[in-house]
Amino acid sequence: MFELILFLILLVLGYGFGRWAEKRHYRSIIEREKTLNRLPAIASRIPPEKGRYRQTLVMGNTVISVDYFKRFLAGLRNLFGGRVTAYETLLDRARRESLLRMKEQAAGMNAEMVFNVKYETASISKGRRDTIGSVEVLAYGTALIPEPASASDQD
């Protein structure tokens, strides 16, 4: 009985805090995406031909943990199969947040754009049982920082 009560408390807390954190995070993501859209992140490997750029590796890394409610829902989903919708927002948030962090780093270097953007995803808990799973998403790319025209002439 005690276990059941504890479980329900954890479930309600997980749901409440999870939803609250998710909504807040999405608001922040959308807001920052709008401002950082001026700095394009491009998947193409071929940089623009015009202009001279200094190239620097930039990366953004996010670790997001799944809440108790989502983990329970995903566990139930394992019984029936189908899309694990509970984890979709988790990965979506991690990807977008990582890209934003990468862009923020690039923006700090006065980069014009980021090329050859790639993602890496890793599970922190590595499928270990009885642990709350966390996912790491790393976004990285090559920031192109325009060289001053005078400097390029001297080359």
Binding site: R71, N78, L79, E88, M113
Partner: protein, 276 residues
Amino acid sequence: MEYRNTQPPEGINVSHTHPLKELVLLLGGAILIIVVLSLVLSHSMGYLARFIPFEKEVALTRDLDLGSETPPALQRYLDALTARIGRAMELPPGMRLQVHYSNDATLNAFSTLGGHLMLYRGLLEKMPNENTLAMLIAHEVAHVKHRDPIRAIGSGAALQILLALTIGRTNADVLANAGSFTLLSFTREMESAADAAALQTLDRLYGHVGGATRLFEVINKARDGMELPAFFSTHPLDEQRIRALREMATANGWPLKGPLTPLPAGYRGWLATRSP
């Protein structure tokens, strides 16, 4: 070439399904499946468990330590009484009974795997005569004879295995507990069957069933205002039990009254003895 990022529309990588709706659907389905499967499994396992040889039960409980705080005189008396009950109940050969006594005020008695019976001082103190004590012990011996402990554990274990296989050791463990909670104790059917067997034994031992219903009156009286001990929780209501016993005795022609055998002279003293 001009490079641009535009704001992606929402809801492409994320489904719109409300998580609570999904929870209700999935949980409802899971509970339904668990209930159906556990009913089927616990019944079939409960049925199959009685084919497990009794020696296996004994082997399982070889390391079981139920304590040995029994004063020797009391142990001798309880052993002798239990042996008489076992003979009267025509236990199958090889079904050995072991009586344990706990110097504890708990109002309880139980039987478990391997023919082990556990009697608590709290309940033994309340016994008014030997007939009532015999009814109590016979009830527990009947559980052993009917293989109730292994049946109860068998059906519980079947559920645990089923849930471990399907859900794995996730938080859904809670569901496993919910499913097996009621099955780990004896069912009311088992209790009624044990009552019936005990009553028959009492008639065989003493030629009448007097004192049998006193057991439930004693328990009922002692329990007033007390927390319900786990042992009694699945037992049929005392009044119903007493009525059922009376009806059975009348139907079988077992006399309801007869001379009651007193408890041995030193009985109260033995219970009070602090064991070394």
